[in-house]
Symmetry: C3
Subunit: 316 residues, 3 copies
């Protein structure tokens, strides 16, 4: 089987086979990042646009570097001072970008479904870099890539996702990827943020952290968005930390070889103890490194890459 | 005859011959955008600066992609957080950029004549990307390129420009280009925005839309800047639409093969009916595509390009 | 002796030998900027990040062009809308960038020592682009490069630095470079801004401009930061100009071949008379040109460049 999609919109609609193609392609590209010349000519003469309607320096830079290392031309489009501010619709903005013979539009948007909407009328490829509280597929891909790299096969592993599940696109994309690859997924957090209905798609739901972490092979901590804290969800940051923060004493109750993951940026001392973030179980920075490889793979695949024989070093 | 100018400051001072050189060069570059590798090595090792003192994501990206596809290095300079904010004069900012061995400065500025001012002391090439209410030459070039592509020779065509003529640099540049190429130009809009004195340079002026569109081969609609509406010019957006908007019933009174143009971003339902914008007479998105080809041509010519034998594909 | 440093953090810790290596390497790179193709393949496949936590368009563009002309990939990271705004620490931001296999982090930061701090845990190279009131090493390097270019050996030259010495990183870096290379350094300005303790490191301190400029071979004027004027340091801009501004009548009391320098952006009519800034003794724009050569040299050296045989023209 081979890759036939022009877009990467979500994880939910991908087959297990497609997930595996992305992961194995990312493994090839990871080696590129370790070379002295971290660049291949694969997307030379192609144009990639970072259409970040919702700002994110971190994800934008990861995609920008991924495109540069594939030798694509990249332009950054941020919503400030743009025609979107002048009342232009997203549809018209995207069609205007496409009229510039753009090959890939990477979109981050506050509204669920914005990438799917674009994919319906654009002939350019669309990559979802996060849409509302819906999905953030490349984050999930880098997470499962990292798990696979450290633990081998994902099938049968116990993965606990801890934090604000309800409003998290990272959680949602991770859940789909993990379930498809055969992991046992446990969700944990305040009952206001981790509703029972996630059980219907095959997750275990608990509001007791002790129960959630005891048998976990992987603990994926979500960021507490304290800069836009939802007052009604939990009383205070301190309260959250005392009930759900990954502290040293809690870490002692986990398996010795548990992996600690976090999509970043981390809040040291809030959802994660600072020493744990820097400790030897943490793979937080490896996730960042793998994100670049995964994004190179996705750019490569959606633009029609079929094999890895093209991933040769760029000539000087 | 060949191209001898180092700058592109306006349309008014160009000869018919020079206009034709740009248009035929743009036709060559348009083919580059249709290749799998949309890139030529023409400006390799040259540096282009986008000096956008007045912000414009759309035009900036078009110039940025044009420069990238010519293999130039591009840096973006926006007025926010820059030395201009610290009280540095435009002259000093430009001379500092030039001291970095910059080859081309593309300037957008709120003040009429800013590009001409720079050209007087800079040895770098200057391209006007819009100066106040004065000129926006590459917009006019892409407009006449699009007309020529669809209609053949411009001579004798009836072109109607509709909207805020008085304060529009797009209108002004279009008028000069169209008159030079032999079109019959009609200007239409509220009398507060379309003064009679345009008749002196050879345009027809009317304030009745029916009269303006009846025999038009091309209708070029200008954007109503409703985000900074001049209260004194017309009573309300609704009023403008009812008197001058291009509605379906009005379209029925035009020639069957009329071209509908708009520099974008469009206000659907204000100056143009949404279905007309997306309809088969509209060439709005082709204008965007052609804008890139025209800007590649201009960058090529002002930096000393003399023929099109250099427009070979970039090696991989 | 050869270059062995992975970082450029300050001037104070450099040896005279190291200073000379940078200056001679910069001389090689200056020639690259004068070629038709201003680009060499030296850093192809390397990634450079401009981490400008304190904004500066001018310095950012100089570094960006330096990296582009070495064929590196460059991404710009500004503090606005970034994870730093979400409460992430500088350490975590930098480690995240490094996890993207970044080779060089160029940092400008409001806090003294920020680049040194990063260099302690990063394996990427760190270049200080200005840290608080501490140092701005590439500015000092371009200043001494310019002096050397115009005057030959710096040893024994009388260099006067005029203005806000106390809070100026430009002054501090210049003082170290000039003293190491054997210049006689005089500091002058209001007593509130030019404290006596600079005498301890070998400078002459005076609060009388006549005395400071009479025998100067070079006068380096610092910018008066009038947009954030410290009310307590001097009564008013007008007062400053009348007491310490470089006026035409004051220039007549200097040596005939004195060089006038300024790091820019200049305040015409405040610290410097407008005609003097544009006059034939001024080397202000040459400083800008040399800044690019110096920054190319620094990028080259910190990434392991050992000789100049690699500085060949890039193939087309």
């Amino acid at each position: 089987m081979s890759w036939n999609r022009k877009h990467l919109l979500d994880i939910q609609s991908l087959s297990v086979e497609e997930l595996r193609i992305i992961l194995s392609t990312a493994a090839e590209f990871k080696r590129v990042g370790e070379r002295a010349i971290k660049k291949v000519p694969t997307l030379r003469g192609k144009t990639v646009v970072n259409l970040f309607v919702e700002p994110s320096t971190r994800t934008r830079i990861s995609f920008e570097l991924a495109a540069q290392r594939l030798s694509a031309d990249v332009v950054n489009f941020s919503a400030e001072a743009s025609s979107l501010k002048k009342g232009e619709s997203l549809k018209d903005t995207a069609r205007n970008l496409e009229a510039l013979n753009v090959d890939v539009i990477i979109i981050r948007h506050g509204a669920t479904g914005a990438p799917h909407f674009l994919s319906r009328f654009l002939s350019a490829s669309v990559i979802n870099a996060g849409d509302g509280a819906h999905e953030h597929p490349t984050q999930a891909l880098l997470d499962v890539f990292t798990i696979q790299e450290k633990k081998g096969d994902i099938k049968g592993l116990n993965v606990t996702i801890l934090g604000d599940i309800q409003y998290s696109r990272v959680a949602r994309s991770n859940i789909w990827a993990l379930l498809k690859l055969g992991a046992n997924v446990t969700l944990c957090g305040p009952s206001t943020l981790v509703p029972r209905h996630f059980e219907e798609i095959g997750c275990k739901v608990t509001h007791k952290i002790e129960e959630a972490i005891a048998n976990a092979d992987i603990i994926n901590l979500l960021r507490i968005q304290h800069e836009r804290q939802r007052q009604t969800s939990f009383p205070s940051i301190g309260e959250y930390t005392s009930l759900f923060g990954l502290t040293k004493s809690r870490l002692e109750t986990t398996k010795k070889d548990v992996l600690i993951m976090h999509p970043g940026p981390i809040n040291r001392g809030v959802e994660i103890d600072s020493d744990i973030a820097d400790g030897d179980r943490s793979v937080i920075l490896q996730q960042v490194t793998n994100g670049l490889a995964v994004r190179m793979a996705v750019l490569y695949l959606v633009t029609g890459g079929r094999g890895t024989q093209e991933i040769a070093p760029a000539s000087a």
